[in-house]
Symmetry: C2
Subunit: 817 residues, 2 copies
Amino acid sequence: MYNYFNSIVTEVLTLKINQFAYVPTSHDKIVQELADIRFVTPKTRKVSDPVMLYRQFLMKFLLENQGHSTREHRLTTIMATAEQSVDEYTKTNAAISHEAFYNVALQLLQFEVGLDFDLTDPVKKMHEFGLPTTEAADPFDRDGLIDAWYLLLNTRTKFGQTLIDYLAGQGYYAQFGADSGLKKPVFFNGKSQAVFNTSKLIREVVYVEAPVDSDHDGKRDLIKVEVIRPNETNKGVKVPVVFTASPYDQGTNDKQADDLTHDVSKDQLVHKDPNDFTKVDVTADAPNTSLPPETKPEQMTDTAEESFTKTWTYTLNDYLLAHGFAVVYSSGVGTKDSDGYRTTGSDAETISTTAVIEWLSHNRVAFTNRTDKVGIEAWWSNGNVGMTGRSYLGTLANAAVLSGVDGLKTAVVEAGISNWYDYYRENGLVVAPGGFQGEDADILAELTFSRKQRANQYLETKQSWEHQLKAIEKDEDRKTGDYNKFWDARNYLNSDKAKADVLLVHGLNDWNVKLSHAYNLKELLKNDNLTLKTVLHQGQHEYLNNFRSVDFTDMVNLWLVNKLYGIENQADKVLPDVLVQDNAEEQTWKTIINWGSEKTKQVSLADEWFTNVNGNAKFSNQMPAEQFKEFSDNTSKWRSELYKLDTSKVDQNSIKLVSAPLEEDLTINGKVHLSINVASDQNLGMLSAKIVDYGKAKRLTPTPQVLEPMQINLGYNWRKDNLREFESEKKATEYKKITDGHINMQNRQNSYHIDDVVPGESYQVDFDLEPEVFRILKGHKIGILLFSADLDFTIRTNQEINYTVDLNKSSITLPIE
Amino acid sequence: MYNYFNSIVTEVLTLKINQFAYVPTSHDKIVQELADIRFVTPKTRKVSDPVMLYRQFLMKFLLENQGHSTREHRLTTIMATAEQSVDEYTKTNAAISHEAFYNVALQLLQFEVGLDFDLTDPVKKMHEFGLPTTEAADPFDRDGLIDAWYLLLNTRTKFGQTLIDYLAGQGYYAQFGADSGLKKPVFFNGKSQAVFNTSKLIREVVYVEAPVDSDHDGKRDLIKVEVIRPNETNKGVKVPVVFTASPYDQGTNDKQADDLTHDVSKDQLVHKDPNDFTKVDVTADAPNTSLPPETKPEQMTDTAEESFTKTWTYTLNDYLLAHGFAVVYSSGVGTKDSDGYRTTGSDAETISTTAVIEWLSHNRVAFTNRTDKVGIEAWWSNGNVGMTGRSYLGTLANAAVLSGVDGLKTAVVEAGISNWYDYYRENGLVVAPGGFQGEDADILAELTFSRKQRANQYLETKQSWEHQLKAIEKDEDRKTGDYNKFWDARNYLNSDKAKADVLLVHGLNDWNVKLSHAYNLKELLKNDNLTLKTVLHQGQHEYLNNFRSVDFTDMVNLWLVNKLYGIENQADKVLPDVLVQDNAEEQTWKTIINWGSEKTKQVSLADEWFTNVNGNAKFSNQMPAEQFKEFSDNTSKWRSELYKLDTSKVDQNSIKLVSAPLEEDLTINGKVHLSINVASDQNLGMLSAKIVDYGKAKRLTPTPQVLEPMQINLGYNWRKDNLREFESEKKATEYKKITDGHINMQNRQNSYHIDDVVPGESYQVDFDLEPEVFRILKGHKIGILLFSADLDFTIRTNQEINYTVDLNKSSITLPIE
């Protein structure tokens, strides 16, 4: 764990900029790197006077393709002290003080005098903002000035970019022109610079034949691949590849999928016949390895013949395009202009992903079009592939990592699924991803089957696709909610083949792709011989590359330079192993040793620490029909009753326990475990539990705020991105859910072994809730809510099922820091 | 009024695409224009068989820089009939039927078979979508096919662009390359095409010396101007200029302005001494015409020496950049890198705007930097300037139009202010722009004084700027709310010098810049010898250039080609004089003869048509202190009580009249007028009135929905824009405000002549409400709400003032269609 800057934060701040991707660098290397990017030149090497050198740096900063008078005038507008502009200061002083340097630095970093600082103690102000300052002597000697200038160029501006990236966006590198001999790529502080010409990007389409025949038409599936690569590759530069496998990218069938959505109000909890299943009984059959013959190219070419334009792109990828990476998009089987069928998470999807990686790493040939058998290599690629993307995109990155495919060196996985069962099911129950009640594997297959957006494909596949959808609906088995062979074939965690390094990113408030996906992947990978880094932020289902309070983009740059360019830049050492955004204080990022504390605190639910809010030891699943309908139609009404700590409309439907106020902050780190002794008066039952932080506080907003729209230049005259942040809500709220979980009482052992439930008989039901990192503030209380149907997540059944809990035999186990 | 397509809409639609910018074109001209854009070539001219020609058109449509096999394969994916792809169809049929042509057309327009249509009656489907079809013979002869193809290229896709603009975004024009001899500009159906290379735009800064010294430093104010012009101008192409004067563009002082915001809860309504003022007494003094000497250039150059990058841009401007217009941004006096002081709407702001226009139209010289006196002409400009922009940006366009400056040929004014008094005041009252309670001229001056974001400027101007702000605060006179010399100097409507053509655009739900700004400007201009077109949409304070249901961008293109390129393209004839989006039906645009109907319906407020909801003829301004505070803190609570038609918490504070249900639709068009006979028990009083549409209906959403993010390519690999639309809300609402108004009882004559109010004495108070166009549906009721302080708009005073209204002597006058 390396955390360069946090330690120097000295007081409560309104704006905090955290940097984790700065690489400590020796003076000699600093001089070399400044020469690479032309701040140090043959001319400046001759300048011994630090004042003169500083002025030359500033004039270079203002871009030498701007007029001399224009730049000199700009120097008169930047104040070095409250009395002197930096123009005057450098003309009248024999030395540069730290005070002058950091007064100017703050202005270069886009802080405003009068608004953000007042020119009196800029070094202190730098520290307040969480920004680094030099340890060089004051006033500067020549070397000290060079080191401080280098540090400054690697310091983040008020608007969330390093100063050198900001400068690149202003045209710093572009001013040198194509024929200047500027190195491409050029690395500065371990990060690849925006020296690539994004106005001349090459966009081309190829078709990769994947070793799979998912539509059983007797032909291997041809997969469309969209490549965006720097023009510099045509002049001999080999670049690594960032590959985003997005099933959504070629279009989605929104309305058709919406029309198929399951009605969770019609679902019923059913009694399941007990079984003696072990893992073997639900292990997916080995995939059919007999394949139609491979198509061999009849000739080869270096030139693609199809181009494309995009609407959606991922701004992190756009940033990387300017910084010396090719970006490749491919949507896989069953998407527009590709062959095959999609069945949500199947082996065929993985194979259509890894086939692209194989092409990119020179282990497979592609074709220029669907018909002519003209082969084409990824000759411009250096053979190293990384993956990026969030949600289903991150999921396919997980799939590729766990396939162990050669050529894939790393993946930045944001909110990816690691086991599809955990996405649509939980402990023998149908449990929806948050916000998507009624979605299931069949719906998502329909959504992403964009192949049918070509009219001929629509007509050709209509009947067999309907048949396919019915098969998925049967196999996904909404009736029992059990783990089965269908789901086992979609559990990437079955694999032990991972060898690519992984940067795992997940929102601690993501109830769509829940935290267990990241946690379980981490658990699987931690024993492997690979580097794993984890970043947990306070978002729901968000990308993280444009936030002010964390230099995630720089972290990714440093990471990918190491993994894909093979540059030894200390990425593994510099980047924290586990970086967590604090939930209780805005703009605060902490490094922790491990996600999942080994220290636990177990408390009986009958402990006097808890108050039983409505005095229940019993509760029913059923509520008055009209109320049930009202709550089903508007679950926010239901939630507000559920979380209430006084009389509520769900008093008969829940047990609510609330702890005494905490005497000090308590951080939950990992999976909360519940052990509930419960009886049902039916031969079935399901339990839902929520753990709640009770206490009035201004919590972070659920979705990030756009601080400045289109503020971030991702390159020179290239795409822009919004600057965002999770800020505190304006008004305090009373509570917030920490975590939750759900279990079918018949799945007390696991998600496929079915036990009986005898009416009236008590069972010990043990289950983990979703893993979290959550700091509960001193004075707050911990709430435990136990109930049956969870209108937001489980099926919405109003069956009469009455539960009796023995609180004396029930307990909660909190993993704590 | 020319409305080509609306008449052929035949049934209720889910998706309606309206086109108003299509220019009827003769066959000969069609052939010439298709030759200009290279669909007709020497080769196709020799093709006599319409089937062969059609196939060639399709192959060209698929871009000739794509491989032949790639394109032939694409033809197999497009269905001409339910049985045959267009590839097969054109190989096996002797003629092209309308059915085949429009089945293919719908697919080219991005409609999906299976989702949007089913290949059975495509001509009918085209009409359902509001799209045009040809009148040529079926099957096509050669000329008919050419005409139909031309019409199709000018038809809008499912995603809101003309097909030719979509095609340009795919690289249609770019494929020909820089040296192809493609005409630049090229006009197609009267609209300039996206043939300009946006990857090589030239961005440069110049400084214009405006003939004004607004900071009284003895020097004329130098104004920074940012120019973006096509690279083609370096090769001899002269282009017209679109100029956006945005005071926000160089940054804003958000926090400082926020801190100064007036507390409307501390304001009190005061008694004003009566006067006998006439307009002369409040007419602004003639501006001081003595000026410091003009700076003369000591040498001239063609080359600028400063460049820039932008964060904010206006997507309509970005679109225009690709289509052959230069785009210029300038922020005017008092903004960053310019000289001078801002005082919100002053003559100096206008002069700093028109000085830029003078430079752009070759009537003034600019300088390359602030110091060297090197002059530079706008040599690349054709001398014709149009302005664009919304809100303050549109305001400065109004100011420039009404200044009568030479060179300004037109302005597209979106939601511009025409009289600053009407922005911050109303009939002798302080009345805020909606959503900005407590804002005033001083606050906006502080917000836009970005000059101080340069540290030296901050320090230099600190004291005098504070003094300036105090002067504005005094002059704006929040105490009386009266019109005075300060406001008269900011009333652009005083001028009779307008000569530029105006395309006026305003949201019918804009309560920020209210409708009277557009209406009063229209009234002023209608007698002038210029062309005025008005577009009224259902937005609040929105841009209109990316909506699916109206081809606003094409209208602007047609308009600007006519006004700035001087091309006779029938723009004045083709574009409707007044285009209004319907409030009651989504995606519906209607042309009307005039905004402001001469037909009126006057009804006594005592008429039996009205029910007096709370039976009041009296009401008080005062409510219980606690309730007042609650309502002030959260005015939505107050509004919901105010609009209630049963018992409410404001029953003592209002008269609520509601009409009988309408027997047929009623469209209000213009200014509703109220004549109220009222007595106050104090020597002062203020009346507020709201006219309300009561009736359960799914109304349009207040803010537009993003239908498809980043779907619109504004050029080839250039900026993207979201596709938006005002859709109906998912749930029906009970009412909607139609319009409102406010008046100080002492300003019964006008906003500067003060009459007395004697307690207990009745006065006839006549006032207009904000002009509207609003269709009230059959079965709905019209509500009239009369009360005193309007917590959303007026000062929030809880003074005890009791009013008595004689409803028999009071009436409402509705301007109706």
